[in-house]
């Protein structure tokens, strides 16, 4: 019995009617009623489905909600509709804590009403527009406005008690990082509670995508989170290609794999150094930033961009490789493998690092599972999921993927996972170059049928990354929603910082490295 029939049967048993839905290309889906939206999540939760994201869309005068569930590498989409005038649904949040902010995002931007959502506060909206105006609701008129005030009245949850004090941090941080606000409650040095307030870099990406052509969408997707340019562009591209039933040439797919692994290596190497630097081990950062710089220079030389932006194009990739370039890259892999060996050896068992990283920022396997954490955050806390292994897409379906899993759940475990992933990426890239198929590097996208929808799912360096795309009748983008892995990393940070000292926040934060831009959109 397929997972879909399985959940369908369970839903029927509690009196929830379902219908099969085939609106999203190649994805098993069930339609339920808006009132059953929350109760269905309760059933899915009881069946151990992982919650992988939710988003809204408006089409044909209706508000559509989608939620993606997963069991291992098997996916099932739930969808429900309500009238645009009163788009009321029950909420997934009481059953899946990770749904909280994504639902509040849909509430702020689309005006979705979640009748039993436990948190009535705004999320993505600050003070740039009023509560009753929803930028992505079709009835919203264009607004012009003057200056935007600071969102100083956001009702943070406060803790009271003897010796408990609040530390507000941000949105402008001390270092060169993205803006966001952190509200700590501490007693002495110990963090009792952290509440995040993001949304500062919200620039309306979902609105900007509407009306673009496929190439324009990928240009935007590469800039959802600059450190994940390949990940988001590939996810968006895969969504479009699935929607229109395009076949991407095998050589292009292999090159996309190569690009994604290059992105993974660059970020892991940079972050490993930065994590060590955050506990005063500057040696590591000097060494890894040197390696990262060399890597990025090669990116520019061969792929035209240091961060690989715009290297994924609709139906393929922008740059082919000649034999000299392949030789250069393979030599680079050998050099990097050699260069990281003594470094990783030091990071792995250096007493002063061990002292600061072991047991620090512990995320339990239960929390990681409940929040649906993927990527290194999930893997370091016992969650073995990796799409390249569990829901493989070309070129990974032909490759051997050993998912590195750790059970400790601390900063040190996350560093170990990332070191293992660097090794694995190097092996994968070698393999991809050795077996690079001949042929074209892109194929034109066929014209999309009206209302064609597709879902892209990519294992980015942060973890599972999703993109939903719907075309309009003229072949332009009607809806784009990218769900970065960071949506589940940020709530994990709130949990793993609990009980740590305030001074360890930077290293805990860096060890999970959620993207602000990727969730602010």
């Amino acid at each position: 019995m397929s997972a879909k029939q399985d959940l369908g049967t369970q839903l029927h048993q509690v009196g929830i009617n379902t219908r099969s839905y085939s609106g999203v290309a190649n994805l098993p889906a069930l339609i339920i009623s808006a009132a059953d939206w929350g109760p269905a999540a309760a059933v899915a939760k009881a069946q151990d489905w992982r919650w992988a994201g939710s988003w809204a869309d408006t089409d044909a005068g209706r508000m559509h909600l989608y939620a993606l569930l997963a069991q291992g590498g098997e996916y099932l989409l739930l969808t429900a509709q309500a009238p645009l005038e009163r788009p009321e649904f029950t909420s997934h949040t009481p059953h899946y804590p990770a749904a909280d902010r994504l639902e509040r995002h849909a509430r702020d931007l689309f005006g979705v009403i979640y009748s039993d959502h436990p948190d009535g506060r705004r999320w993505t909206r600050h003070q740039a527009w009023p509560q009753d105006w929803h930028p992505l609701h079709p009835a919203a008129e264009v607004r012009t406005q003057g200056r935007t005030a600071a969102d100083s009245s956001y009702p943070f949850i406060t803790l009271r008690g003897d010796g408990v004090f609040e530390i507000p941090v941000g949105p402008v941080h001390a270092g060169i990082i993205e803006p966001g606000h952190f509200r700590f409650h501490a007693a002495g040095e110990t963090v009792l509670r952290l509440e995040e307030r993001l949304g500062y870099t919200h620039k309306g990406i979902e609105a900007l995508a509407v009306g673009r052509n496929p190439a324009g969408l990928l240009h935007l997707a590469a800039r959802v989170s600059g450190d994940s340019a390949v990940t988001h562009a590939w996810a968006a591209s895969q969504a479009m290609e699935r929607a229109v039933g395009a076949t991407v040439p095998p050589r292009a797919l292999a090159l996309r794999g190569l690009l994604a692994e290059r992105e993974r290596v660059a970020n892991h190497i940079g972050d490993i150094g930065a994590i060590c630097n955050d506990v005063g081990f500057a040696f590591a950062q000097v060494q890894t930033s040197r390696l990262r710089e060399r890597w990025q220079r090669r990116n520019r030389e061969i792929f035209g961009h240091r961060l690989l932006m715009d290297s994924v194009v609709p139906g393929g990739v922008a740059h082919d490789l000649n034999t000299t370039q392949i030789t250069t890259l393979r030599a680079d892999h050998a050099t990097l493998r050699q260069a990281v060996e003594p470094l990783f050896d030091i990071f792995d068992d250096h007493p002063s690092l061990e002292d600061r990283l072991v047991t620090t920022g512990h995320l339990s396997a239960e929390d990681a599972g409940a929040l649906g954490c993927t990527g290194y955050v999930g893997k370091a806390s016992g969650q073995a999921l990796d799409l390249r292994h569990d829901a493989p897409y070309a070129p990974y379906h032909e490759l051997l993927i050993n998912v590195p899993v750790q059970s400790e759940g601390d900063v040190a475990a996350r560093v170990r996972v990332r070191m293992a992933e660097v090794h694995m990426s190097l092996d994968l890239m070698d393999h991809l170059l050795r077996t690079l198929p001949v042929g074209d590097i892109h194929a034109p996208l066929p014209n999309p049928p009206a209302a064609a929808c597709g879902l892209g799912l990519i294992e980015g360096w942060r973890g599972e990354t999703l993109a939903f795309v719907r075309f309009d009748a003229s072949g332009c983008i009607a809806r784009y929603f990218p769900r970065d892995a960071s949506w589940f990393i940020w709530p994990a940070l709130e949990r793993l910082i609990h009980g740590n000292i305030v001074a360890d926040f930077p290293v805990c934060n860096k060890s999970v490295n959620g993207s602000y831009a990727g969730v602010d959109l």
């Binding site: 402008v172 620039k203 900007l208």
Partner: protein, 182 residues
């Protein structure tokens, strides 16, 4: 410790001798920057970076300025945590409406004279995101901008060149106001 020393000895200094073909140009650029900082800022230029809504690509390249290849600190440039210590404000991203006030306040907290440098296509002209219900667009829509460093993102060399240009901006054009206008 021995392993660390061994690694340091084996790798040597990446900055010297210059590792890349364009390193001579980079070195020259750095020296020029150094001289300009000496002349205008008595050996040190303190920069406060504010991401006003970027995609984080620009931040990655600003970070790269600190790696051993560029090691921008050797030319007298330092990144500071407090706007009160800063000579220049380096802004990335279009200014999201949600960052508008925070950016203005950071600028106001700096003492005059102060530079504003817009780094990246978004900061220079709105870039990929432009103006919208959520974005003010270019930094100059919010603050007086002295120097623009285009690029999406600008490379570390572009950033160094841009800083140099900032130092050459005619002193009279640099904002002397104490911030009441912003």
């Amino acid at each position: 410790m021995l392993r660390i020393l061994h690694q340091l000895w084996r790798v040597g200094v990446a900055t010297e001798p210059p590792p890349a073909t364009d390193a001579a140009a980079l070195e020259a650029l750095g020296l020029e920057l150094h001289r300009a900082i000496e002349a205008r800022f008595r050996h040190s230029l303190a920069i406060r970076v504010v991401d006003a809504g970027s995609c984080n690509g620009c931040e990655l390249e600003i970070h790269a300025l600190a790696n051993p290849y560029y090691d921008i600190e050797r030319f007298g440039v330092s990144f500071v945590a407090s706007p009160r210590h800063a000579d220049a404000l380096l802004v990335t991203g279009p200014v999201s409406r949600h960052m508008e006030t925070a950016l203005r306040r950071t600028w106001r907290a700096m003492s005059a004279p102060k530079f504003v440098i817009a780094a990246g296509q978004c900061a220079c002209g709105g870039g990929e995101f432009g103006g919208s219900y959520a974005s003010c667009g270019a930094v100059e829509k919010v603050l007086p901008v002295d120097v623009k460093i285009p690029g999406c993102p600008p490379s570390p060399e572009d950033l160094m060149r841009g800083l140099l240009a900032a130092l050459r901006v005619d002193e009279t054009t640099v904002s002397e106001s104490c911030g009441e206008s912003a």
